[in-house]
Subunit: 236 residues, 2 copies
Amino acid sequence: MGITSTENITRIEVNEEVSRFDVVDDVIVEYKLKLCVDGHDYGTILCSPEHLDNLVIGRLSSEGIIKTIDDIRSVNIDENQGIASVILNSERKPGLKHKIESGLSVKFEDILGLMKSLDARSTTFKKTGGVHGCALCDNEKIIAFDFDLGRHNAIDKIIGYAILNKVDLAKKIIAATCRISSEIISKIAQNGIPIISSRSAPTALAIKIARESGITLIGFAREKRMNIYSMPERVL
Amino acid sequence: MGITSTENITRIEVNEEVSRFDVVDDVIVEYKLKLCVDGHDYGTILCSPEHLDNLVIGRLSSEGIIKTIDDIRSVNIDENQGIASVILNSERKPGLKHKIESGLSVKFEDILGLMKSLDARSTTFKKTGGVHGCALCDNEKIIAFDFDLGRHNAIDKIIGYAILNKVDLAKKIIAATCRISSEIISKIAQNGIPIISSRSAPTALAIKIARESGITLIGFAREKRMNIYSMPERVL
């Protein structure tokens, strides 16, 4: 299934004259994925239909349902029906957020470099104007990139990737294009990630949670500037 | 309560030299409002803390819980506790979406004019980079404007305004800055609004729902162009 589809639309353009014509244009697909965990309904995710396994695993980790890939017996995704069925190895128990202890630090110019790489990867965003990009990074480069029409999903996909590939998130940086809300920063806290950097703004509640959790929260990270909202000592 | 707050942050700027300094900056507030209807928990809305009555009424209408203001006995909002308690006059019954029958039409230049007015009103967006603006319009002008950090909330606030003020939504246009997802267009359909125009992109599922519901869906409406994804005959 594609992440964009084509639609017949009408376009109006105003130049010296007004032109009105029919055209075929790309639009972003919004896919409904019903999530079932051990046979229980776990809600429906509206998402871009790619890397659905990463999305499901990341979502479960962000909600404290799993900690490692070993907590999962199986993930079965029926793309036609739009159903993801997960069987766990152990009883579900809500995870506890804890203060992040990480010795990770990063040079400011490396953050700006990562944001530039993120921009370069966000081609679907440019094409359809409809998705948020997100990258899992070490200090120098992007390790994995993903995107979704939902900000939450983009973050979950990249976290799911890390869990599937047993990447140690305590030594990684997330770079994102989207606004950082309380829900986004809670995912970062739940997964023990020490640094998140975004092109966009954080909310006041996200800043509060970042400070309480010991996360370095960077916003408006663009070509030549950034704002550091919490734990600035990790940025050299 | 303000819709922005100030935070002490660290800023890094790269010009001829690199400067790093502490600064007080505005950030967007994210407020938690718990919604109770007839004593039942109806979930928590993360929103900008302004026009909460409009937000609550619009949300109930968008979900088919109420049709007019007469369906509500009382709305009681405790801003300190973050709780909105609604008592209904009648039994809750889910509303049914129906095909929109509206004789409304609009000139394309009026749509472009409305989008320009919307941009001019979106000052908080420019200040903090964090909110979506939304306007209730007739063919010539903005009747009411609102915004929120959540796209869904901005739409609900403006719908709530219309219901409180008994505005006939079958003859109105919504102008928005945000992406049009299936959830947004469902709110438009549920409230019988014939035309929505956004600066941003719609999703494929939103286009499908707009076509099924008889809504004129306009996207990428900017200075000199627009895309019409459904019911273009309403745009002259």
